[in-house]
Every structure is written in structure tokens, then in C-alpha cells.
């Protein structure tokens, strides 16, 4: 089965729609959504409704820190993120807010675990930024393969039978075999706000039959997403960073 995994959509309607189309065109049969559906972008209502429709259709969705902040404001976010969250809260209707608040922090499926950030303590929202955090996250789970997002930069980590970690920056479009002899942590890039220098929307395609994962990039209407952010009066930087992928 082909499963498309999306992380960090961040209310970027243009990117989310383009990735859904692309994933379906490539034969995705299921969707897994790795959190942060809102925040930063200009279309939270549409994004959450789309996620709700996908979930109603059998998709798995977990909660991200921005989703959780809608009902539980936190002081730890940076200014732009806080401004965006305050604005988003006003944009979302009751059903959307309830939906986000009730999302689980993790979800398991076969030998896989889905979580927004570090699996060793999901509510702490720690970034998996290096092999040290990746090792901690892998060791905290029983899953053979974990998938997360949160850091907006794609990465692949694996833990060998001899407890050695490997780290790798994946190449777009090249399938990586999830060798059975080791445990894996796959970090998806961001659909709605890539930060690895490539402005195209990032997502993953998992092929369960061949046990391999492919990092995909989809070009989208960045100018449309950026002008929507400006029109809504959100911080300009949130619009500017999209075209540079930072």
C-alpha cells in the first residue's frame, strides 16, 4: 500500500492542495497527517476542514504544537507564531477547534508510530534535530519505523542492531529501503513552510509492500500563499520566508 504522509501544513492552502493532488496522482491510497495544520498560514479554516474530511475518510492525524496551542495558549512560541495563533483562534469555528483539541499525540499502525516531534515526550514538543534526539526518540518506542515532522527539514535516522546511529539527508525522489535489521526514524519536511532551502512543499510516500520511503517535493503557488498571508495582516516575514524556503 502507498501511504502519503504530510507534516506541518500550517494553513498553507496552496501547498496542501498541491500535495494532495500530487500524492493522489502518484497513487496514494491512504493519508497520514503528522500535525501542525494551523499557524503561520492564511487558510486555517479550509486546512482543518480538509484534514477533518480526510480523517472521516480513514486518514490518521496526530496533534502538533500549533494545533494544541489553539486551546492551550503557550508563552514559549516566538512572536510571529504567537501572533498567527491568536489570529487563527479567531478564524476557526467551534468544530474545528474541538477537532484540533481532541487529536491524539501519537498513533500506531502496524509496526509504525506517528508523532509530531520527539516520541520520548510528545507534549514537550522537542525538535528532532540531531542523532542524539533521534536515538532518544527511537528508544522510547517499540515501533520499527517512526515518522515525525516539527523541524521542517527532512532527515533519515536509523539505529543498528549494535546500537549505532546513522543520520542522512535524503535526496528527493530516491526511495530509501527501510532495512529490516534496524529501526528507523523518518523526519518529514514541511508541506506549508519548508525550511531546508528548497521552497517546494515537502512530503513523504511510504510503500509498505516494498518497505521503502520516498521524500517528495511538490511545487505550488507560493505567490498566492504569500499574498494571502499579507492580505490577512499576518506578520510579513511569514510570507517572505515561503519563497526562500527558510
Amino acid at each position: 500500500m502507498l501511504i502519503a504522509l504530510f507534516a506541518d501544513i500550517h494553513a498553507n492552502r496552496q501547498a496542501f492542495a498541491a500535495c494532495l493532488d500530487d500524492a493522489r496522482a502518484r497513487g496514494a491510497q491512504r493519508f497520514v497527517l503528522l500535525g501542525d495544520y494551523v499557524g503561520y498560514g492564511a487558510d486555517p479554516e479550509w486546512s482543518v476542514e480538509t484534514v477533518m474530511a480526510l480523517v472521516a475518510d480513514g486518514a490518521i492525524a496526530v496533534q502538533g504544537n500549533h494545533d494544541s496551542a489553539i486551546s492551550e495558549p503557550r508563552e514559549t512560541m516566538n512572536v510571529e507564531a504567537r501572533v498567527a495563533i491568536e489570529w487563527t483562534r479567531g478564524e476557526l469555528g467551534r468544530p474545528a477547534r474541538d477537532f484540533l483539541a481532541r487529536l491524539p499525540l501519537t498513533a500506531a499502525d502496524a509496526d509504525r508510530l506517528y508523532v509530531h516531534g520527539d516520541a520520548s515526550d510528545p507534549p514537550a514538543w522537542t525538535y528532532v534535530a540531531s542523532t542524539a534526539e533521534a536515538a532518544r526518540s527511537i528508544q522510547a518506542t517499540r515501533a520499527r519505523v517512526s515518522f515525525c515532522g516539527h523541524i521542517h527539514r527532512p532527515a533519515v535516522y536509523s539505529l543498528s542492531a549494535t546500537a549505532k546511529m546513522t543520520a542522512f539527508t535524503p535526496v528527493t525522489g530516491v526511495p530509501i529501503p527501510l532495512l529490516p535489521g534496524r529501526r528507523w526514524l523518518i523526519v518529514a519536511g514541511a508541506v506549508g513552510q519548508p525550511r531546508d532551502g528548497n521552497p517546494a512543499a515537502a512530503w513523504l510516500m511510504l510503500d509498505t509492500a516494498h518497505q521503502q520511503v520516498t521524500f517528495c517535493r511538490t511545487p505550488y503557488d507560493i505567490e498566492g500563499a504569500a499574498s494571502a498571508i499579507r492580505e490577512k495582516g499576518l506578520p510579513v516575514w511569514l510570507a517572505e520566508r515561503l519563497s526562500r524556503g527558510i
Binding site: 543498528s160 549494535t162 546513522t166 542522512f168 529490516p180 535489521g181
Partner: protein
């Protein structure tokens, strides 16, 4: 975890084990058959037991990842792989030929034979590098010649794939490889430089042509590290009749600094196949090793040993193409000028590219050709001189420029043959004016453009068009 007992007759996933062909330190090779499958096959089974060297497992994992992605005549065809949880194995094509290992008994080999082997191996390396893989364990036992002549590279357990996680890199902090063949940068832990394979091939060529290993057989890290600063004895010191062109090539492959070797294996293959065109430098003349002052400078000059930016396989290959320009010496000056301008424009951005200038001496189908013209000039030499003259304004360093006169009845076929045999990346060819002759005989450039296995640029001087 239940492991099947392996013995002749055992069937694993449809493959019937026939006999053990080889039993190594890390794996066993079985000849296997499968019903309805004519391909001769071998099954490689890693020896994994309590206390197994982790390198055996990781090497096998790497091979399982890399082999299914390789294709072409220079690798064994991948057939199937088995899961670690049940019975790990890789089934691949069994190559009919023999490895180069038995030739060790007959060293040194004749120079022409060494050069011929070198071309075949370098061509195989180029094919591998173009598939994003650095082999990192090139040695006689890992090279087999097919009955059709192509070199096949075996064993990808130590290899690096630039688009896949490098499990070896992370797993082991000490360098892995075969001591006599390991490049200096491998000793420093760099696994992503395709020129490391060129160094190993240089060791093989040196060994096969002299009967002596350039850096001995030292297995200790200290003995291996000496090659970082100590150059080998020049082959000519060991054998008085050693051809200077071969010494030039072999010592260049063995440069301790990778950037001083050939930019690509394709360029090395090119040099080995055109001995008369090898630009001889002081390397070719050398009769003794570098003086100690030079060695000390290499050893203690930290500038030289400072880590470089991580080399990237594809970036290095694309920066060093083999460009060929087909020059029609009797064409009008404007066309040849345009051809040169286009060549210059292309080479300006590619300091590691090399240029081969081609001219076809058209033979007559019936009439007898003589090498001398009516005035007694050697036609071939005249053409070579004219080609060099055409290329002179490009101001290319002699090591980057070669000239070739091809003799053929059909010019297009001759150019295509050269492009194929020399792995040319980009061909530049002029388009002649429409003429009655061309209308009758067809255009050389059109045929070449349609059939060449590489990029072809048709050059034409800007024509005034009627309004």
C-alpha cells in the same frame, strides 16, 4: 528466529542450493538454480553468528540497498534478496569469466595488456560512478572479465551510495578496505570521493605492470598511513623498459592528493586508450622518489592535510566531461570559427573538462588509398597539425587536449564509434550549408545527432534570413 540449515538441495524462496563456490570470512557463495530461469546465479549468504564482526552485517545491508539499483554490463545483475529476520541472502547473476586474482601468479604482465585491463576497469568504474556509487574496495579479486570483455565489479559491502544512508560511515570510526589498495582519503575516513577508486586502480596497474605493490602489504594503520606523504618508487626505477606514458598515468592515479589525479575514471580510460596522446610531465621521467624535504613538507604541512569540503560524486562527474569537437577541415572558415567559439563557451565554465578534436579522413570505397598525397606529404600528419592549429586559440593545457584523425568510409559511423568507445559526454559538430552533395548523400551531423548516445550540439554560423 529460525535459520534454515544450508546444504545442497535446500530450497530458499524458490532458489535451490547446488554447491558452495566460495567460503570467505564474511560470507558464503552458493551456486543456485530456479525452475524456469536460465540465468546462471549465485547466492551470497552472510556468515552471521554469535560474535560476528558487525562489519559483516552492515556490509551486507549496504549491498542489499545498493545492488538492486545498479544496472548495466559492469555489475552482476541483481535477482533477489532475502530478509534478515528469516534468512539473509542476495541472489545475483553468476558471471561466466574469472576474476583477476589468478593473474597474480603471472606478474608482471606485458604493458599493452595492463593498459587494456586498465581501460576496461576504468570504464566499469565510470559506469558505477555515474550511478552514484563509489566502490571503495577495488582489487583483483573483485574484478571479473565477462567473456564479451567488459570488466564486472563485485562486492558492494564497503561501497558508498551518494543517495542512500551510508551505514558504514557511522558504524565504524576506523577505515575499512583492503590495505594495499586503500586510498589516502579513505584512511582519513572520507568515503564519498570517486577518485578513491582511481587510486586503487593505480595500485593494481602498478602491481600488474611491475610485479611489486607500490605501498607494500602493510596491514597496520601506521604502515598504511605512510602513503599519505610517501610516494612509491617510480616504476621505471624497477623496470628500465617501462614506458614513460604508462608511468605518467600510473603515478597520476597514485597521487596522494585526490585533486591531482584524473578528474574522472572516464578521463583515465581515455588516456589509457590513447598512449600516443598522453601529455608527459616530470612524472613520466622520474627515476627516484621525492626527496625527503618534499616528503616532510607533505607530512607536516597541515595545510595539505586539512580536511577538504566533502566531495560529491555526481558534482565531480558533471564538472569534468569529455567534450569532442568534430572539425571538418575543408569546411569554410566561418563554420570552423563558430565551432571554436561554441567550444570555448562550453569549456570556459568547466576547468576539468577535456577536449578531443576529431577529423575524419574519408576513405574511398573502391580506389586504393595511399598515406602520401601527390606532393609526398603524410596526409594524416597534416590533418593532426591542422587540428592542433584549429584548437590553438582555445589555449588549453596539453593534458586537456587531444587530436584524432579517424579513417573511415562513412564519417558519421566513425564519429559515432569514437563517441561510444571513449564515453564522450558532449559532441559538437558543425552543420554544413545545404548543398547538392548533402542532399544526395545525407548529412553527417543529422545522422550523428540522431544516433549518438550523448548530447550533441549542432553548430551553425548565424545566417541572415530573408524578411
Amino acid at each position: 528466529m529460525v535459520k534454515a540449515l544450508l546444504e545442497p538441495g535446500t530450497v530458499i524462496d524458490g532458489f535451490r542450493l547446488e554447491e558452495v563456490i566460495h567460503r570467505g570470512g564474511m560470507s558464503m557463495l552458493w551456486r543456485v538454480t530456479r525452475q524456469g530461469d536460465d540465468l546462471p546465479m549465485v547466492m551470497k549468504v552472510p556468515l552471521i553468528a554469535e560474535g560476528t564482526d558487525p562489519a559483516a552485517i552492515v556490509g551486507f545491508e549496504m549491498e542489499q540497498m545498493i545492488m538492486p539499483r545498479l544496472s548495466g554490463p559492469h555489475v552482476p545483475k541483481f535477482v533477489a534478496a532475502g530478509d534478515f529476520a528469516v534468512q539473509p541472502y542476495i541472489v545475483m547473476e553468476r558471471i561466466a569469466g574469472k576474476s583477476l586474482l589468478p593473474r597474480l601468479k603471472k606478474l608482471p604482465l606485458p604493458y599493452a595488456e595492463v593498459a587494456d585491463l586498465g581501460v576496461r576497469i576504468a570504464t566499469a568504474l565510470d559506469a558505477l560512478h555515474r550511478q552514484h556509487v563509489v566502490h571503495l574496495d577495488i582489487k583483483p579479486s573483485n574484478i571479473v572479465l565477462r567473456p564479451s570483455g567488459e570488466a564486472v565489479l563485485l562486492d558492494y559491502g564497503l561501497s558508498h551510495h551518494e543517495q542512500l544512508p551510508d551505514l558504514m560511515q557511522e558504524e565504524f570510526r576506523v577505515p575499512f578496505g583492503t590495505a594495499p589498495y586503500m586510498s589516502p582519503e579513505q584512511l582519513k575516513g572520507i568515503r564519498s570521493d570517486p577518485r578513491s577508486d582511481q587510486f586503487a586502480l593505480g595500485v593494481l596497474l602498478y602491481f600488474f605492470s611491475t610485479g611489486v605493490r607500490p605501498f607494500g602489504e602493510g596491514e597496520t594503520l601506521g604502515a598504511m598511513r605512510r602513503r599519505l606523504w610517501r610516494d612509491p618508487e617510480p616504476p621505471r626505477k624497477l623496470k628500465a623498459d617501462y614506458p614513460p606514458w604508462l608511468q605518467e598515468i600510473v603515478l597520476r592515479c597514485l597521487e596522494s592528493e585526490a585533486s591531482r589525479r584524473y578528474p574522472t575514471a572516464a578521463q583515465l580510460a581515455f588516456e589509457l586508450s590513447h598512449p600516443d596522446q598522453v601529455k608527459l610531465t616530470q612524472r613520466a621521467e622520474r627515476m627516484k622518489r621525492d626527496p625527503l624535504t618534499v616528503v616532510w613538507r607533505r607530512r607536516f604541512n597541515t595545510d595539505l592535510t586539512a580536511p577538504r569540503r566533502k566531495p560529491e560524486v555526481t558534482a565531480q562527474l558533471t564538472a569534468a566531461p569529455i567534450v569532442a569537437a568534430a572539425v571538418d577541415l575543408v569546411a569554410d572558415a566561418t563554420l570552423n570559427e563558430a565551432l571554436r567559439t561554441t567550444t570555448q563557451r562550453m569549456l570556459a565554465t568547466l576547468p576539468s573538462a577535456r577536449l578531443a578534436c576529431l577529423n575524419v579522413h574519408k576513405l574511398h570505397r573502391l580506389a586504393l588509398d595511399t598515406t602520401l598525397d601527390s606532393a609526398g606529404h603524410n596526409k594524416r600528419v597534416d590533418r593532426l597539425v591542422a587540428l592542433r592549429h584549429w584548437a590553438e586559440p582555445l589555449k588549453l593545457d596539453g593534458a586537456r587536449l587531444t587530436v584524432h584523425v579517424l579513417e573511415a568510409v562513412d564519417p558519421a559511423d566513425a564519429i559515432l564509434e569514437f563517441v561510444r568507445a571513449n564515453r564522450v559526454d558532449h559532441l559538437l559538430i558543425g552543420a554544413r550549408d545545404p548543398s547538392l552533395m548533402r542532399a544526395l548523400l545525407g548529412s553527417v551531423s543529422a545522422k550523428v545527432a540522431a544516433e549518438a548516445p550523448c548530447t550533441v550540439t549542432i553548430v551553425r554560423p548565424l545566417r541572415e534570413t530573408a524578411p
